[in-house]
Subunit: 325 residues, 2 copies
């Protein structure tokens, strides 16, 4: 029986992706890991399948992008910029919406491989780390850290600190952090961590609330926020993990005759186009969506062309003060 990448990976105690990266000299691999992999290959007398490798190098000039849903304004702006920068570098994109469904996410990764995409940008993260092993393709992730795979995120901890500190500086006594599901292993969860750390260290009362995993649904957001405000009428400062959630918080506040920013202050995250169209205009933490997209394409392109890339890519955020604080 022929020795496969999988056998090497198993014996070396690393992922198939890592072995593939060592073979193709792609991405950052520590000397220790590299040496271990070479040692195991020698022990097992592993012969890389050159034909398969060269076939796999035939470029299709297509990049696969997997996002939770394009109907969420953050992801629609992200998809817009990814497509524009991909096009500049001669790539077309296949856009897939996983809807946070692990089955769909897996089917889409398989479909993308079947269509011989040159690489994948993953911004939906229900898959297990082990499932990334078999991809053997250049990958860039958004907001999720997996060993050996370059990722891009905004400085989530810093962003949440800016927001939480501003609410407290402006006099808020009872803070709420409202976010999407924290059950996914996302770097964005650092926003929750920072919020709690700052509130605790500054001795301010706080509460957190999160939606179901599958939901970017305005009606569900609205219900969640209404219940939160009913159960805790003393909330006077809201930090929302997206501008879309913040927009719902503004709406519910208006319905309950809470004056913004007098009775309640609200801060979003993302700075999507819509945030300056809201009335009052939304104070938010700006993620550099365009720069993140441009960098994602650059990192993927470098990997496709067998160049080294940085693994950790954390981009700066900015506090954009408007009328809700």
């Amino acid at each position: 029986m022929a020795i496969t990448l999988k056998d090497v990976a198993k014996k070396a105690g690393v992922t198939v992706t890592t072995v593939s990266r060592v073979l193709n000299n792609r991405g950052y691999i520590s000397d220790k890991t590299r040496n271990k992999v070479y040692q195991v290959m020698e022990e097992l007398n592993y012969q890389p399948n050159e034909i398969a490798r060269s076939l796999s190098k035939k470029k299709s000039n297509i990049i696969g992008i997997i996002i939770p849903t394009v109907s969420h304004p953050f992801f629609s702006e992200l998809a817009f910029y990814l497509e524009a920068y991909a096009y500049q570098k001669g790539y077309k994109i296949m856009l897939c919406n996983s809807q946070h469904d692990p089955k769909k996410e897996k089917e889409y990764t398989e479909m993308l491989r079947g269509n011989q995409v040159d690489g994948i940008i993953m911004a939906s993260h229900t898959m297990e780390v082990s499932e990334y092993e078999n991809l053997d393709l250049p990958i860039v992730t958004f907001d999720r850290q997996i060993e050996g795979i370059p990722y891009i995120s905004s400085d989530n901890y810093k962003g949440a600190s800016l927001a939480t500190n501003l609410l407290i500086d402006k006099g808020c006594k009872k803070l709420a952090y409202i976010s999407g599901s924290l059950s996914l292993n996302l770097l964005a969860n650092k926003r929750n961590e920072a919020f709690i750390n700052i509130a605790q260290s500054r001795n301010v009362d706080y509460i957190t609330a999160q939606t179901d995993m599958n939901v970017f649904n305005t009606q569900q957001y609205e219900g969640l926020i209404r219940n939160l405000f009913k159960d805790h009428p003393d909330i006077d400062g809201v930090f929302a993990s997206s501008d879309l959630i913040a927009a719902n918080a503004i709406k519910v506040s208006e319905q309950l005759n809470k004056r913004i920013p007098k009775d309640i202050k609200i801060i979003g995250y993302d700075d999507i186009q819509m945030s300056s169209l809201l009335i009052p205009e939304l104070t938010t933490i700006r993620q550099p969506i365009e720069e993140m997209s441009s960098l994602a394409i650059e990192l993927l392109n470098k990997q496709i062309n067998d160049n080294d890339v940085e693994i950790d890519n954390i981009l700066p955020v900015a506090l954009i003060e408007r009328q809700t604080t």
Copy 2:
């Protein structure tokens, strides 16, 4: 020299797509056209290339979708539903953003053919009718009518009539219609037509304004609307061709201290998610985006499976009265 589809089409005075449809017995073709095509084939002794035809029937289960840009909320919701219904029928989608650039639109159609998509949904329309001829693929268009190709649109004339009549019924004396570019040959232009017809027939003063072709840009919308309100301070009723434009009209009105709906009434078109998040909530004409998407996939799937389909698919609209009128 071998006789091609093109030669048959030219001599019969029809498009290549029409000849292909006759050969594949796909889509609606009048008896007159069908007979003419058969007659020409006989005259020219045309032999359809069966191998090519059967190869072209190999299914990839991928549908190509070309839209202007996924960053516009109408198109992001459309893309969302198209993807969801495609998935239900076992298709994956390749999503392309043309940005209304004819070069990009053409490159994307070629890329989709190269990737052997089973069909294309076209919601971006800078290409000439003649360029559709060479596609020889099942196609469904949104909002554009091309002979022999099934299209889907909302009832644009009816929608605009509802909006214009409501503004007049509510007492508006000077109406404005603000839209995207009318230079594209879109069925949506019937909104402009209906607006003018109703305003004229009811003897109400009106003005129309339109943006550049390439723009779904909030800042440009805002500038356009500010200038319009400056030049015509007596405008007291606005019908906007999208909720995004209407959101900008609300914002500019607030900035100019025009009270909504007392001083100025505003109606949008689409009923995207955001329209009920605006304050005041936006009165709008609802396009049935989900139904339109589901029908598009159904029509494409039927064509792919060689079933007949309706060419004209005009879906009903509804006036959703909220707080801006």
